[in-house]
Amino acid sequence: MVSGAPANDVDLECRRLVKRFGGLAAVDDVSFTIAEGSFFSILGPSGCGKTTLLRMIAGFQYPDEGDILIKGRSIVSVPPNRRPVNMVFQHLALFPMMNVAENIAYGLKRRGTPRSEIAPKVQAVLERVGLPDSGPMRVDRLSGGQKQRIAIARCLVLDPALLLLDEPLGALDLKLRERLKVELKELQSQVGTTFAYITHDQSEALVMSDHVAVMNEGRFVQVGTPQELYFDPQTAFVAGFVGDSNRWTGRVEDADTTGVKVVTADDLSLLGAPAGAGGLARGDRVEIFVRPESIILGHDATRLGAVDNRVRGRVENILFDGANSRVMVRDGASGHEIMVTLPQTGEFAALSRGQEVHLGWTLAQAKCFPAGDDAARAGAA
Amino acid sequence: MKAGPPFRLGLILLLAPIVLWLSLLVILPHIDMLLISLRVRVAPRVYETSLANYVEFFTEPLYWNTFARTAIMSVTATAMTLLIAFPVSYYIAKMLRGRTKNLLFLLCLVPFWVSELVRTFGWMILLRETGIVSNLLQWAGLTAGPVEMLYNDAAIMIGLVYTSLLFMVVPLVTTLDSLDDSLIEAGYDLGGNGFAVMRTIVVPHAMPGIASGCIVVFMLTLGNYLTPILLGGKDSLWFTDQIYTQFITRFNWELGSAFGFLLLVLSSIIVWIGLRLSGQTLSESVK
């Protein structure tokens, strides 16, 4: 985990940060570290406090409690214009009255860099972001992707210890966003600058980051690699927010060392594995999450193999989307709709509405979290 | 951005100019004017507080006749401006499209950019005894000799309406422009005739524009000085002229201040009533 990294490799450290607006804590006791040269994302729904957190690091908000250290030095009392962090704003905030080169030179001029050094530096960074000829262009003549790169170049030219990115892809259309995700990741590994990226889009966070912090209601719910978050969520919130899942609520009927038996609200009996902190006992209310791709689909029950949970249902809908195709299956007994990834093997090419299918998944793939986990914690805070 | 102690200093620096401006050039002068209107000179450099100036206003028929005449003429001018401007605004907003529309609209704004003095001068050339209109009438054989068309109420009215048109046309075109054509079509479709559609759909929709146009025009007309004096001549009997006379000619500042204050009160009351009736705010109307 990140927090285990040695101190001299840490670019940013936040210690027990708190920011309140009115009585409400927008950022509530958040501590984390970002290792040098890594791509760190903060992922959370809108209003979770991630923008406030970023603005405190940039210096536009003053924390009520806690400390922010860059390279081991506290910067809480340093004004925003003297901090060694630069920020790519949500709408990029390129200066419309200046051309591309003037935009990039802006920070150098403020530092008093000699004129003769500015032009080569600007040119070098323009080449680094792949737009060597755009210097004299007007900002409003650039495409969305080019603007994006210029906004990053404007920060990189200052060689910051940390680059903050405030949902810079949010305003772009889907196709461009997909492409820029890849570009941004490649750019980061090329330049080696530490990136702190905030987003509400889980796909952006998973694709680009070395580490992701999932944030909800002012707190970090879980910090880990994208794989850890996806395969080993620690709370119901993370399980529900990162990736797609089928979700049931129910009550624990029986619990032993191998797993728990749960009866759902619509009377389905399921076997699952307790997940997150703390065990489960008989009578606990739980939420169960099962990923669509961990459900095995078969034309008859024998094809499922050794699975702990079996369901028989009818195909309700086929959502064809190439490699991401899904089948919606209505469970015959409980009436619950279950989302299943459609294997691209051709075996199910002829699948049609109304057809009877069998579903199965193992105990380990049904993760059971105590219900109301996050709500209870937020209430106690 | 907003928090932090250093920016309170910024607030004070930003407050200083506006406070100086409003207090020294607007608020204190008006308070001083009110105080001076409430005193009379009993001996050289000796004053007493009294309502005598206001009493004089109400007991001297010339004064309050002029006052009432100014108010009535202003109301008339406002109504005439509305009547003349409405069909034109409607034509620009609803009958025209594209470039012609923009061009004609801009043309309506031209007089605003030209000094009121020049505009009034133009009217004097048109209306005087040796002027264009008089010559045209003679040429057409409608009159035997030259006609003096200046120095009467009609001339004042022509000039006042002319000066006010812009302030009526702009709000009217803006509100009429926002009326969806399909509403008018629906009105006809449901069996209304032209008059009924106008009365039940167009005018109610344009009401905010009508109200703010009328308020601004009335205010400007009431406080106008140049047009009534130049086009109406010595007997124009306009209230601002009375104020000028008291101040500059008779050097009776006490009475002049009282007149000024009365005009201000009249203007404010009418504007306030207008805003109340139309449910608008001052900041919307002056835009």
Binding site: G59, M87 | W21, V88, M95, V118, T130, G194, G223, L263
Partner: protein, 286 residues
């Protein structure tokens, strides 16, 4: 009564004729005021005696043209002087007010905003006399207290500048505020983030952004000052700005030199008006 609804031909023709007549009414006084600048006659009236430029360039009485009419050229200079100072003051204070109302929160903000609008509602003549009365009170007060007479506050150009500034500032404030309201605050934050101090951020980012509005407000302020009559009339001393000089000549009856001045005024204001439209249209650009 829209193009999609058929109307009798007679109605359409009448309506169009009315609108045409309206524009004749609108343009007639301007047209004649301009045309008679070129009439070869001693008076700005018919008959038309042929074309002349005497009223611009004539250099001797009785045909003294504008360019050689000392009183007129001097008053143009005075008007320009007054307008310059009014513009500088009104745009400066307007800019400060825009930042105050758009960026700051403070008690009685709405009350102050209403007061800021008040000068538009007060008739110009009354604004003039109130300032006249108040400046006189100040002179007397200081005279009584310390025995010094401050002549700068007697009717004269200083008072004229202050009087015009008093209501023109409201207009510049509204124009500049409207533009500042559209400013994206993150641009200023970006400047801070790139190492600018607050003052430098405002100077290098916000002010350039406001430039079209500042120029537009400046043009409007200059024209309104140049053409103001009502407030000026009450505060003027021995140095008469152009409008006052023209007014005096109008009452006496004047030569077409006055038309020549009028035409020049129209041309200059027309050019400035076009310039301001152009500047506003190109806003956001470089």
């Amino acid at each position: 009564m829209i193009p999609s609804i058929p109307q009798p031909r007679a109605f359409r023709v009448t309506y169009a004729a009315y609108v045409a007549l309206f524009f004749v009414y609108l343009m007639a006084p301007l047209a004649v005021a301009a045309a008679f600048a070129f009439n070869d006659s001693m008076f700005p009236s018919l008959p038309w005696n042929g074309f002349t430029l005497d009223w611009f360039v004539g250099d001797a009485e009785p045909r003294l043209g504008v360019f050689h009419d000392g009183a007129l050229t001097e008053s143009i200079g005075i008007s320009a002087f007054v307008a310059f100072w009014v513009t500088v003051l009104a745009v400066g204070v307007g800019l400060s007010n825009a930042f105050l109302f758009e960026r700051q929160t403070f008690p009685f903000r709405n009350l102050l905003y209403m007061l800021m609008l008040a000068p538009l509602v007060v008739p110009g003549v009354i604004l003039g006399i109130s300032i006249l009365v108040f400046s006189n009170s100040i002179i007397n007060g200081i005279d009584n207290a310390v025995g010094v007479e401050i002549d700068a506050l007697r009717p004269g150009l200083a008072l004229v500048v202050l009087g015009q500034f008093a209501f023109i500032t409201t207009i510049t404030t509204l124009v500049i505020s409207a533009r500042l309201r559209k400013f994206d605050l993150s641009l200023e934050e970006a400047a801070l983030n790139l190492g600018a101090t607050r003052m430098v951020a405002v100077w290098t980012v916000t002010i350039p952004y406001l430039k079209p509005a500042l120029i537009g407000a400046g043009i409007v302020a200059f024209l309104m000052s140049f053409e103001n009559f009502n407030t000026t009339l009450m505060l003027v001393g021995s140095d008469a700005p152009l409008t006052i000089t023209m007014y005096d000549r109008l009452r006496e009856g004047s030569t077409p030199a006055l038309n020549a001045v009028s035409l020049m005024l129209m041309v200059v204001s027309g050019a400035l008006a076009l310039l301001s439209v152009f500047v506003q249209r190109n806003r956001g650009g470089r």
